[in-house]
């Protein structure tokens, strides 16, 4: 049934997926393994998106399915006194002067379904807003998104503002956007760039794994 659930979610069969989840719960299936299966399906959805087989509507529908699966298994998880672990905290936004949000939204979605706690600040976000949010929630990772060439300098200013606030040592910073590459990451003072949403997730997972348990901040 687990494989069927993965296929149902990955193929966008919402009704079948929900029926399977209910049946699995009734059959006494471990709720955590149901969530794991749903996460596996989301990885397939992400891959299909990267390969241009899927577009944003599928990502949104898959996200809604993931949410619905979560709602169904949550009571059982609570009963087992287990909780889904948060992989890490991420603050993400499109830097000031840029309003492009599709790439950022996809990365946000992919991080979210991979158990990251994502705080999306939206678009045209001033450096001071990033700094305030970092101070507030103490994330492990900061994601700066930008599509325009002018985003380079704004990203640099944002990284500098984070440094000036004495927070740079507490966070890993990744940048993303159509024109971003390793040299841009170096120019703006980020730790790395994500070529696409999957790469961004892998980067984030790698950094968190490197840093160990969630309680320890990611030191540079």
């Amino acid at each position: 049934m687990k494989d069927k659930l993965i296929t149902a979610i990955a193929d966008m069969n919402e009704e079948e997926a929900m029926q399977l989840v209910r049946a699995m719960l009734e059959a006494g299936e471990d709720p955590q393994s149901i969530l794991d299966a749903a996460s596996e399906a989301m990885t397939i959805v992400g891959k299909r998106f990267d390969e241009k087989e899927y577009y944003l509507p599928e990502l949104i529908i898959a996200g809604d399915m993931m949410k619905a699966v979560g709602e169904l298994v949550k009571p059982k998880l609570r009963a087992q006194a287990r909780s889904t672990k948060t992989a890490g905290k991420v603050v993400i936004g499109t830097v000031a002067g840029d309003i492009h949000d599709i790439g950022k939204d996809v990365v946000t979605f992919m991080l979210d379904v991979n158990n990251f706690e994502v705080h999306d600040l939206g678009v045209d976000v001033p450096a001071a807003t990033f700094v305030a949010k970092i101070q507030e929630i103490q994330p492990d990772i900061v994601g700066l998104s930008g599509f325009l060439t002018m985003a380079f300098d704004q990203m640099k200013r944002t990284v500098e503002a984070i440094k000036e606030a004495g927070l740079r040592g507490n966070v890993k910073i990744m940048i993303g956007g159509a024109i971003m590459d390793a040299s841009a990451a170096e120019y703006v003072g980020a730790d790395a760039f994500g070529a696409d949403a999957s790469a961004a997730v892998k980067l984030a997972q790698g950094w968190v794994a490197q840093a160990g348990p969630r309680s320890s901040a990611l030191a540079r």
């Binding site: 966008m12 241009k52 577009y55 509507p57 529908i61 002067g97 309003i99 045209d124």
Partner: protein, 235 residues
């Protein structure tokens, strides 16, 4: 300065599906997805307020990659001077479909109606591109009426033309009548707005008959360009 609200916005489902990709056609066969699409279309048609403000300015001289207008304003950089080369006047315009669409999309997102919000946001972007196309055709027709020619249009941020030039455009036009302002970070508000320039003159101009897509680095993978080709046949 000219202010016009006379634009016709057309949303063709077949064109939208073709732009997004074949899979959307299957998704739209599902009642819940279709309901989101229909609701977004209704929202868009109800909330769209297309408008544009534009004017023409005499060009005093071309100085390297910039133009000096008769009123002393300097504008240009990137490909501007080469695209409008030979022009006697510069048409400058700002167009919008108003902010109600974006506000509604944000509301829907907050309500968890993410698919409907995405459709609505897409429709807003598609609509403002249609306003841009119609404005350019209007400027071109006005030029032809004088026996003049029009260059390709360009927008700050396209190609190598710096977005910082938005402030020059907004310094030339009073955009209050169409409700568009430029924020400190040089972003137009409402977001579903576009600014542009077109060179005008009696003789041959630097680049004619090309679209702004020809100067854009993402032309091969831009969904709105695909939509534009489907609607107008323009390459």
């Amino acid at each position: 300065m000219y202010v016009t609200h006379d634009f016709t916005i057309c949303f063709d489902e077949t064109q939208y599906i073709a732009q997004v990709g074949g899979s959307l056609s299957n998704l739209l066969a599902r009642p819940n997805v279709r309901a989101s699409w229909v609701a977004a279309l209704d929202d868009a048609r109800r909330l769209l307020r297309p408008a544009a403000a534009w004017d023409t300015f005499a060009i005093k001289e071309f100085r390297h990659e910039r133009l000096v207008l008769a009123n002393g304003t300097r504008i240009g950089g990137g490909p501007v001077a080469s695209v409008v080369a030979g022009a006697s006047e510069l048409a400058v315009g700002v167009c919008t479909v108003d902010g109600a669409i974006s506000s509604r999309a944000t509301e829907l997102q907050a309500e968890g109606q993410r698919l409907r919000a995405m459709f609505l946001d897409d429709l807003g972007s598609w609509a403002v591109d249609q306003v841009r196309q119609q404005l350019c055709r209007g400027i071109e027709a006005a030029a032809k009426g004088r026996g003049w020619r029009a260059s390709a249009s360009l927008s700050p941020g396209e190609s190598e033309w710096s977005v910082s030039e938005q402030s020059v455009i907004f310094g030339l036009l009073d955009t209050q009548p169409i409700g568009v302002v430029l924020t400190e970070s040089l972003v137009m508000s409402p977001i579903k707005s576009l600014s542009l320039i077109v060179g005008l003159g009696p003789g041959p101009l630097g680049v004619e008959g090309a679209s702004n897509c020809d100067f854009c680095t993402i032309r091969e993978r831009c969904n709105y360009r695909r939509l534009r080709i489907m609607q107008t046949g323009e390459q």
